[in-house]
Homo-oligomer: 341 residues x 2
Amino acid sequence: MTNLLEEKMNRQITLAARPEGFPVPEDFKLVETPIPEPGEGEVLSRTLFMSVDPYMRGRMNDRASYAANVQIGDVMVGGTVGEVIASNDPDFEVGDIVQAQIGWQAYGVSKGSNLRKVNPDLAPVSTALGVLGMPGLTAYFGLLEVGQPKEGETVLVTGAAGAVGSIVGQIAKIVGCRVVGVAGSDEKIAHVVDELGFDAAFNYKEVDDYSAELQRQCPDGIDVFFDNVGGAVSDAAFPLMNVRGRISVCGQISQYNLTAPEQGPRMMWYFISQRLTMRGFLVFDFEDQHAEALKQMAVWVNEGRIKYREDIWEGLENAPEAFIDMMRGGNVGKRVVKVAD
Amino acid sequence: MTNLLEEKMNRQITLAARPEGFPVPEDFKLVETPIPEPGEGEVLSRTLFMSVDPYMRGRMNDRASYAANVQIGDVMVGGTVGEVIASNDPDFEVGDIVQAQIGWQAYGVSKGSNLRKVNPDLAPVSTALGVLGMPGLTAYFGLLEVGQPKEGETVLVTGAAGAVGSIVGQIAKIVGCRVVGVAGSDEKIAHVVDELGFDAAFNYKEVDDYSAELQRQCPDGIDVFFDNVGGAVSDAAFPLMNVRGRISVCGQISQYNLTAPEQGPRMMWYFISQRLTMRGFLVFDFEDQHAEALKQMAVWVNEGRIKYREDIWEGLENAPEAFIDMMRGGNVGKRVVKVAD
């Protein structure tokens, strides 16, 4: 540990209260604590970028789901990109850039086994939280493994301008599909159609009849439905699925901040008449294939076949607001929080 | 054609009106027509048994679904077991017992390619409409191919005492699963537990809290949910599915007679958190494996490992009532209508 570090304090965002419905700034608390020292086999990293992602909303609830929830007073969970500043693991040297899971804090220790080295020559290091990180892998496996798209098929993507949806649509174009997106602002629609090459897209906030609009934009029906959102748009998509269609359930962001469960039309009949398959997944289900997929994604990014946009907020103290605004759809592309240079 | 036949008339049940909600006897009409003569390559069969099945309700609607609908004035569709009484197909001889698709009528012609010979020494010929026919195959493929049950897993079956559900549970027992059934009468519950060997079952008409009852009967959660029914019991099953659980969607009989679509709680989140797969199917999707599966089913039946009950009504003219009563859950086991000796 250097003298410099001994003089400084760590800054953390902790969970102050469990949200009821949409999170509010008061649900979070900025605290100062001593910078931790790495134990045996551990690595101390200084956070450069922090990720804010929709899944974090689930961790704020009082019930554990597929992963443990955050306890009141605990540091918020999440992925980071940081610089190694002290290491007791021979695989990591001071100065290495690493993708870690230390959450919303300026410094943190990790077991080396929980770190992934990031090559700063490949792309901006922040992309290790986006197109070349968890969201990119989520898009890759959720589309290719779960959705099984084939050339000439129609792929519908909700949350089309988000960190995952924007990549899903572009991989589907590489496969040779017609890609239709749904998003929540005209800026997002312009982005996915004009910059990312989606074939069509619509702003659900400007459309009354989702079914009619989907029929217009998917004249040959829907073969793969990649769902990040759920709710009324999904309701309208099920009846338009083609025979042997696949539904890849990645997220249900429309439901995460509801204070009471929502009802919707039943759609199991469509599964019989159209022989549909719906499968939910987590990116961790494909962990043994992550390294290979990241290589493929890096190739596509470097070839310009996959474009990405980052939506960077500055300052660890602004992470709660960056997160809340993202949950309300404020982001275009991957939202990250820059913590240090 | 024999003189005997020339003297007689055919009797047919035709669709007289499209049902609104539950079918009523007035939706059907008994008509007499000349007995048809088989054309080139065709076979005339005299119906011994007719099948009544839930899927027929969908064919009575004004919209085609996965198969063409029945037009007003047309003979109701359905499987039959009959005796060949005239044949222009060298593969079929007078006296052969055949499983045909001639619908609700006493005589009908079929292409030979649409007939399957039935071995009367193997089992009562009526079973070609049940355990050794379409319902048995539906159970076989819907459980083994779609549900993918493994030894030690818990399988939940709705419509447990019906033609399909009763077989699903027994195949699941052969695989080595814990089998829980849901049905609509105490007689059905006694049948599936005491006679068919289900591990547990409950009468949903006598239970208020489906979730609590399912938790009691499935203490280790649900790995495979074979759904014939849909509606409120299914709603309660989704939250109890185990990680990587499979939902095999075979039928949704609770929904077939609704005059307005029903709403239910959204359950797509469970697909993510538990990584569920839901797949709907039709028995025809597995047509190339039917012959092999029927052989296996016949072995199990002859070994006494699969038991079956037939619920036989007499008289072609009673088919509408037999069908309507079956749609209301009146049957235990496979309901067929005996038309001739």
